[in-house]
Symmetry: none
Amino acid sequence: MAADADPARRSIGARRNPASADAILEAAEAVLVEAGYAGFSIEAVARRARAGKPTIYRWWPSKAALLLEVYQRQKRVEVPDTGRLEEDLVGFLKNLFSHWRETSSGSVFKSLIAEAQSDETAAAALAGYASGRHVHTGQIIERAKARSEIPADVDSALVADLIASYAWKHLLTNRLDEDEATIRKAVGYVIRGIARNAL
Amino acid sequence: MAADADPARRSIGARRNPASADAILEAAEAVLVEAGYAGFSIEAVARRARAGKPTIYRWWPSKAALLLEVYQRQKRVEVPDTGRLEEDLVGFLKNLFSHWRETSSGSVFKSLIAEAQSDETAAAALAGYASGRHVHTGQIIERAKARSEIPADVDSALVADLIASYAWKHLLTNRLDEDEATIRKAVGYVIRGIARNAL
Amino acid sequence: MAADADPARRSIGARRNPASADAILEAAEAVLVEAGYAGFSIEAVARRARAGKPTIYRWWPSKAALLLEVYQRQKRVEVPDTGRLEEDLVGFLKNLFSHWRETSSGSVFKSLIAEAQSDETAAAALAGYASGRHVHTGQIIERAKARSEIPADVDSALVADLIASYAWKHLLTNRLDEDEATIRKAVGYVIRGIARNAL
Amino acid sequence: MAADADPARRSIGARRNPASADAILEAAEAVLVEAGYAGFSIEAVARRARAGKPTIYRWWPSKAALLLEVYQRQKRVEVPDTGRLEEDLVGFLKNLFSHWRETSSGSVFKSLIAEAQSDETAAAALAGYASGRHVHTGQIIERAKARSEIPADVDSALVADLIASYAWKHLLTNRLDEDEATIRKAVGYVIRGIARNAL
DNA sequence: TGCTAATCGAGACGGTACGTCTAGTCTTTTT
DNA sequence: AAAAAGACTAGACGTACCGTCTCGATTAGCA
C-alpha cells in the first residue's frame, strides 16, 4: 500500500529506525503465513524485509522474541458481553476460532507455542501471556458473578484456563472449524456440569 | 542391559537389526531428556546411537515419526477405576501430570506437539493419536454412564477432550506441578458446572 | 573440458570425492584471478564450485590452506641449465617473472604472502615453502660450484634467498615487467659484486 | 600528557580535531601490535580510540591510508656512516631488523604490504614509498662511490633495491632474528660477488 | 551577538562473510 | 538386503565488520 519505497531504508541516526522495525515485523508475519513455522527463519525474514540480519538480532534476541512481538501486534479478539454467560463464552470461542482461522494469528500463536518448547524465554513469555489472558477472559466470568448468574466463589481464572485450554488444543490439532453446536455443548458442560444432579 | 556396547553393531544381513532400532529409540529419548527439543536432531541421535543417519532415515522418514515411536514406546499412564467419576478424573489427571513430570514422557510429548506445528505428518499423527486417546479416556465417562452417575447422552469424547485440553495446556506452559486442590476444582467445574442452578 | 556436468556432484560414498576437490581448487583459482585477494572468500569459492562450505572446511581448515594447495597445484617454473651461472639466474628470474605475470600464479602467491601476515599457519607454511625453494633454486648455484665457476664455500641457499628476495619484492610491488637488462644487472651484482676490487 | 582523557573529545568547531587524529593513529598502532593484522579493523580502532567510525573514514579513506600514516609516523631507522660500505650496509640491515623486531614498525609494515595485495591505493603508495626509500638507502652507495670504494657507474637504486628485497623477505617470513654473520655474508656477496674471478 | 557550517561521538542501517551445525541424499564396504 | 560410515549439496545459525547515514552537541568564524 504505502509507497514506503525502493531507495532502501537507511539509518536515521544513532537510534532505532521504526520503519525497519515495522518492515521486519510485517515480513515475519508474511513469512509465517506463507511458509509456516517450518519456513520461519531469521534469514527468510531478513530477506523478505530487505533488512540485515544484525538489525533483527539487535532488537529481537531470538526467534521467540520476534514471534512474541508479531503476536502482540495482532488485533485482539473481541470479548462479547451479551448479559448471558453461555452466550458470552460461546461467542468468545467462536470469535477466537474464526480469528485464528481467518487471520495470521493462528499461525503465529501456534508457532509461538512450538517455539516455547525449545526456548526457555519463549516458554516464560508464553506462560506469562497465558495467565494474563486468564484475567482478561475471566472478566466474562466476573460479569456473570456480578449478575449473580454464578456463585461469587467461582475461580474465574481457573474457568478461563479451562476455556482457553479447549481453544489451544483445537488450535494445535487443526480443529478450528469446530461447529457451534459442539462448542456450545462443551461450554454447557463447564457451566452446568455433566453430572445427573446438575440437571 | 543389552550389550550393544563397544565393538560396534554391524549389519546382521538382509534384515532390520533390532539392536539398532532399539539403540536409536533409546538414544532419541536420551537426547530429548538431556538436550530438550532444541537439541533434538537426527544427527545428535545418530551420534548418540552410534548409528548412521541413513539407518535412521530408512526406518523413520521424519523426526516426527521417530518422536511418535519414542512416545508410543513409553508406558501409558494408568486410568483409575474407583467407582466415582470425580475420583477417577482427578486420579487420571494426577497420574498423568506426575507421569509427564517424572518420566521422559512429558518432554517427548511436548516435542511431538511442537514438531506437529511444522510437520504435516506429525500433525496428522498427533490429531489421530489425540482422538484415539479420547476414546480411551472416555471410558472413565462411559463407566460413569453405566453407573447412572451421569446421563447417557453425555458426549464422553467431548468430555475427554476437555479434560485432555486442560492437561495439554498445563504441559505446554510448564505447570505440571499443579496441586491436587486446583485439579479437583477444575474437574468439579466440569462435573457439576459453575452455574448457580447447578447447586 | 570434461563434461563433469550439471546434475550436481553427489557423495561417492564414505570417502573424499575428488571431483569436488578439483572443482573447489579450480574455483578458488578462478575467484582469485577474477576478483583478486580482496574478493577471495570461502563463500565465493563455494558458490563458484557449487560446493557446500562444510566440504571446503572439511578438507582445508583455513583460507591459507586452500591458497597453499592452489599454489602447489600450479606448474612450477622451469629452472634453466645453460652451463653458465649468469644465464641460469637471469633465465630463472625471467621465467619466474613471466610465469607470475602470465598465469594465475602471481595472484595466488601474492595472496598467499598476504594471508601469511594474518594467519600463523600460512606464515609457517610459507616459510617452509620458501626455504624448500631455496634448496631447489640453489641447484643452479650448486651446478656452478661443480663447474668450478664459483668457490665451493659459497652458501647456495643464501644466494638463492637473495635472488628470491628480489623476485618477491618485484611481485609485491607490481614490477613483474622489469626489463632483462635490469634483471641482468642485478644478477651481475650478486655474481661479480659491486666493489672496485672485484673488477 | 594531554588530558584528552575521560570527559570525551568533542568537536572543536568546523575543523579537524588533532587530538582525535592522534588518538586514532595511536589506537591503530596499538591494535596492530596487540591483535596483529588479522585483528586490525576500523571498528577495533574506533573502539580503542573512542572515536566514531565516520571520523576515521573522513580523514582516512581506507584501511591502507590509515596504515600508511601510522607507518610514516614511526621513527625511521638510522642509516650508519662508518666510512666503509660493508659496515654501512651490514649496520643498516642490523638496525632495520632490530627496529622492525623491537618496535611496532615491523607489524605495521607487514600489514601495509598485506593490505597492498588487496587495495590498489595501498599498492601504489607502497611502490612509491619503496622507490623513495631506494634513493634514501642509495646514499650509502653514493657515499661509497664518492670515496671511490665502488665504481661510479654502479646503479645505487638497484643495489638499494636488492638490499631492501632481502630485508622485506626476512620480514615477511618472520626471520628478523637473522644473525650478523649471515647478514654480513649476504652483504658480502653483493659487494664482492660470488664468482671465482671476483676473488 | 547571533547564524552558519563543519566536526565530533555515537550507533543504527543494509550487507557480506565468517565458521559451525543440521537436513536429507548418496555410495561403498561389510555382514 | 540392510547396516555402518561418512561424504555430499544446501542453507540456517548467530557474530563481526564493512562503509554509509543521521543524529544531537559543540565550537569557530562570518555577518
